[in-house]
Symmetry: C2
Subunit: 304 residues, 2 copies
């Protein structure tokens, strides 16, 4: 099994090229395309599509052009969410990754519309994932519909948008945030929803039919759970990294509620859960090679 560094080196440029190609076709209007590219092609680490491709690889499947394309749709969604989150009425951030945020550069109206165009376009990317496939590697249309359903749920009012709505209430002057509320109603929605979408997506793309009623092992369920725990750990690590900044901005993150030491302990529990899930997956599926996903988990552990 390839290690994460080599995997990233191979797939990061291909992900970025796919995004560049699809964004170029997102509108006949050059100005809108330029704004959309500014929002997406800004040096992101592409954690989410890489996770999808890593899950596909872990199950021993190869990455076809359709799989690559469908995996990149999440970056359109992630990017739109950052553009809208940065708006004055939301987090009011003038900078994103050291550069002016979209509304700071292009104005508020354009930023709203760029976000809307990216969100809409994400679903177009999935629906056209088979646009250049050869017969043997086209994705089944049922799978593309299931993926669309999952994205609508995890990105929308039952997932990321709801998490963001809750997060808007979460400032220290309100003082009513409980650990459970923060983990289940904010972090699980705002951050983990898109990540569990990407890991579930990887399992869907390996075309494993499972009769769940027979109590067989379900790779989709396993990868959903892995993504959920990974996403929660990822958010808490982010909290720990941003501890002082959040304090300045009156943001109520987990370390502010339970203390840094206890937050670190919750993070460790989630990391431990990811290990349990991977161990169980190996037990149930002899073809499954966990090493690449272990490397992803280490990315969080290494930052400690």
């Amino acid at each position: 099994m390839i290690d994460l560094k080599s995997f990233q080196k191979e797939w990061l440029p291909k992900i970025n090229q796919q995004l560049e190609n699809d964004l170029s076709m997102a509108s006949p209007d050059a100005d809108l395309v330029a704004m959309m590219k500014y929002a997406v092609l800004n040096g992101g680490k592409r954690l989410r599509p890489l996770l999808t491709l890593a899950v596909v690889t872990s199950f021993g499947e190869s990455i076809t052009p359709s799989i690559l394309k469908v995996a990149t749709a999440i970056e359109w969604v992630h990017s739109y969410s950052l553009v809208h989150d940065d708006l004055p009425a939301m987090d009011n951030d003038m900078f994103r990754r050291g550069k002016p945020s979209v509304h700071a550069l292009y104005g508020e109206a354009n930023a709203i519309l760029v976000g809307d165009a990216l969100l809409t376009g994400a679903f177009g990317v999935i629906a056209t994932a088979n646009s250049s496939c050869s017969v043997e590697d086209c994705l089944p249309t049922e799978e593309l519909l299931l993926i669309t359903q999952n994205l609508a749920r995890e990105a929308g009012g039952s997932g990321m948008v709801l998490g963001q709505l809750h997060d808007m209430d979460n400032h220290t002057e309100e003082q009513n945030a409980s650990t459970n509320w923060l983990l289940n109603d904010v972090y699980s929605m705002k951050t983990a929803a898109l990540i569990r979408y990407t890991t579930t997506l990887g399992a869907i793309l390996t075309h494993q039919n499972v009769n769940v009623e027979d109590n067989h092992f379900d790779p989709k369920k396993a990868m959903y759970d892995f993504g959920e725990k990974f996403g929660l750990a990822f958010q808490i690590q982010d909290d720990l990294d941003d501890y002082q900044q959040d304090q300045l901005e009156d943001v109520n993150s987990l370390p502010h509620i339970v203390g840094v030491k206890e937050a670190q302990s919750v993070l460790d529990q989630y990391l431990f859960s990811t290990q349990e899930i991977l161990a169980n997956t190996v037990e149930q599926d002899q073809q499954f090679d966990r090493r690449l996903l272990d490397d992803f988990v280490s990315l969080i552990g290494d930052k400690k």
Copy 2:
């Protein structure tokens, strides 16, 4: 063939019930559901889903539960677009249909998120259109993917969002709007895109396979053209109705550029085009009954 009044009487309550049901499931959060319902269930005329159902009926097909559900997705998109258009950074409208707009009632951040949740949810409605179908009336998954592609194109950066982007520049102080630009780059995108989507959708839902290379009549193309002309006529009628209001707000509508009389003449040309398209469709398809769509066209003519 049923007349439009009876058709509306039969289908408007069913459309509203479908919207109500799906919106109730859009989020586990009651506050978010309430805001989404406020944005959608506000007494709209449901012109767009009615057009889809009318096209299906005109081609002699019956309206199944899956068709009804898929037809209502456009109201999620139309409603989100109104919520975002009303935002302070966009048109800054405090009222919508005589009631406070979403941002006026719930605040700007909530309005941005409600719009995002509705847009995301629209694609979920299409992807789950078969959720309660019986085998004989489930829609083919290929059709649902094609519909998703069409919606992404007509609602996003190649359609409605682009039209709105252009419309933001269209105020009289700039004085550079030409008739062609206004019709092709604003009206065709901002208004006609969603309407031609709905009429094309009706044709798709009648499952007519056409080999376009044989130069056969293509019902999807005919209904696309019908929707385009109908949409443009609809927008110009709206301009004529809002002539004085637009003048107060420095909006550059067609009547302000070419005069009321000439705008009326352009409107009449579009109405005439819709008649030509319907006549040709009847000629090509003996099963096609144009009367219901004629009634829709008369809705515009009658307002003169």
